[in-house]
Amino acid sequence: MGPQHPSTHGVFRMDVVLDGERIVKLKPVFGYLHRNHEKIAEATTYLGSMPYTDRLDYFCSITNNWAYALAVEKLAGLNVPERAEYIRIITAELTRLLNHTCLLGFLAQDMGALGTPLMYAFREREKILDLFEALTGARMMCNYMRFGGCRVDLPPGWIEQAARVVDGYPRFLEEFERLLTGNEILMARTQGVGILPAALAVNASITGPMLRASGVDYDLRKTDPYGIYGRFPFRVPLGAQGDVYDRLMIRLLEMGESIKILKQAIQELPGGPIVDPKAKLRAFKPKAGEAYGRIEAPKGELGFYLISDGSANPYRYRVRPPSLINLTILEDMCLGHTIADVVVILGSVDIVLGEVDR
């Protein structure tokens, strides 16, 4: 079965055994987009891998950059200046907004609402991508973070433009919510579909909105704060049923919290340098050792595990891909449901194959 989800165009399929319309067995098949990112990274310098991380989850290149930068900063003991921390949070939360917005559009498309909700979502996404383009020169492959800071400072007028986008966002969310969440068809298609019990979610290492929709309070921004997330008061929305509807609502609520964080960060943004003067771009050789850094990416916990042998290339470079690991329980969620439900359940997991296959 496949491809049917917009992000799986030809690179993901499922072997499904059916009894009439009911799913009896379902095995996802991977590897169509595999290019051994980890091997490539072992053959290049630490900095050389930064643009490759953009291509993992190509919707959220900035959070990928951040996870990698965080792991290297742990490995080499670098500090990040205040202003860079704020810029990181602003860009990362914008990334979360655009990821969740698109996911809701895709999910509506999976349910048969062709076009309109997705185009509404893409309209908002373009506004954020315009900001990224102005800042980094690229809409999607931003390659923005550097070890110990960021690559370039904000251009003039950027922060005002960002403030306008953020201020306009709640209006879009309200509109989207009115369009979708009370919709009878949407409720019939999502409520009670693809239930994921909390105990199974924890045991199967499910992370991100998927986990929180099952009612487990675990958000790395709260429990293992990286950057300066400790300074921002925000709530962690939790689901009760763990079905597709909860996963959808969690994303809507998380966007509301992201807007809160963004408003505060834009207000408080300090001046100063944007990169640690100790951080070297060329001939960067961390001492032998290892580090595991992880962040709360929009799709779940994105981790980088690095082993250094003291040379300019990492000895071991591992990406912990949330998209792949969140698919572990795809079969458990689909058993007993119909083929049409599989499409919706897969959509609610939120995968990007660049990250699944690496």
């Binding site: 490995l75 675990y218 591992r318």
Partner: protein, 216 residues
């Protein structure tokens, strides 16, 4: 959270023959890890998950590392009889340390919001003794990751419910993340299931090449 020394002591007390060792880490983040013997790895994992003070219910990351054989050369002065005269001669001694494959698990606790405890298990060697006990029965989250390690490193996880290649195709013979992997010159040359299909297809051709006429 407890220190790694305390965890080590408690693991040793409750799992006999666990062979726990603390692996130092010189990086500034100082994430040290516990290396356990492969025979008791499953028991240690269950202890770490179920212990009320640790509750490491969440295996965040599972991955492989390849440590190839290392050869260290040493120059030694040896006395030798050369042409009947005793002379001191320099000789190079090679010391070959056998390599191994290693599985690394990063464990956290969602219940108690603590971690990480890093668990490492080593195989006997890189050729035949590549078996490790699977920790998927303890943490389901390791299922796809152990499949990936099997695929890319060639560690065979005993007790894994569904140990197949994850990213490379069935029938591929190499383990590309190993350090001694040589990239093929021509990827098209790699044997693929397609060859088997061609072999099977021969059964459908007539034995004499179709010269006798008749219907196909």
């Amino acid at each position: 959270m407890e220190s790694l020394e305390e965890i080590k002591a408690r693991v040793e007390a409750s799992v006999t023959g666990a062979a726990v060792e603390i692996v130092p880490n010189d990086a500034p983040c100082q994430q040290r890890s516990l290396r356990v013997g492969r025979e008791k790895a499953r028991e240690v994992a269950e202890f770490l998950r179920d212990d009320p003070r640790l509750r490491l219910d969440y295996a965040s990351n599972a991955t492989g590392v390849d440590w190839p054989d290392t050869v260290t050369k040493q120059k030694v002065k040896v006395k030798k009889q050369i042409n009947g005269v005793e002379q001191e001669v320099e000789e190079t001694l090679e010391e070959r340390k056998p390599g191994c494959l290693e599985a690394v698990y990063h464990l956290y606790s969602m219940a108690l919001k603590q971690g990480p405890v890093i668990l490492r298990v080593r195989t006997a060697d890189r050729m035949q003794g590549v078996h490790l006990p699977s920790l998927t029965p303890v943490w389901r989250g390791a299922e796809f990751q152990e499949r990936e390690i099997y695929d890319l490193y060639g560690i065979v996880f005993d007790g894994h419910p569904d140990l197949r290649r994850l990213l490379m195709w069935e029938g591929y013979r190499h383990h590309p993340m190993r350090k001694d992997f040589v990239e093929p010159d021509d990827y098209e040359y790699e044997p693929t299931p397609h060859d088997e299909v061609l072999e099977k297809a021969k059964a459908h051709y007539p034995a004499d090449g179709g010269t006798q006429g008749g219907t196909a």
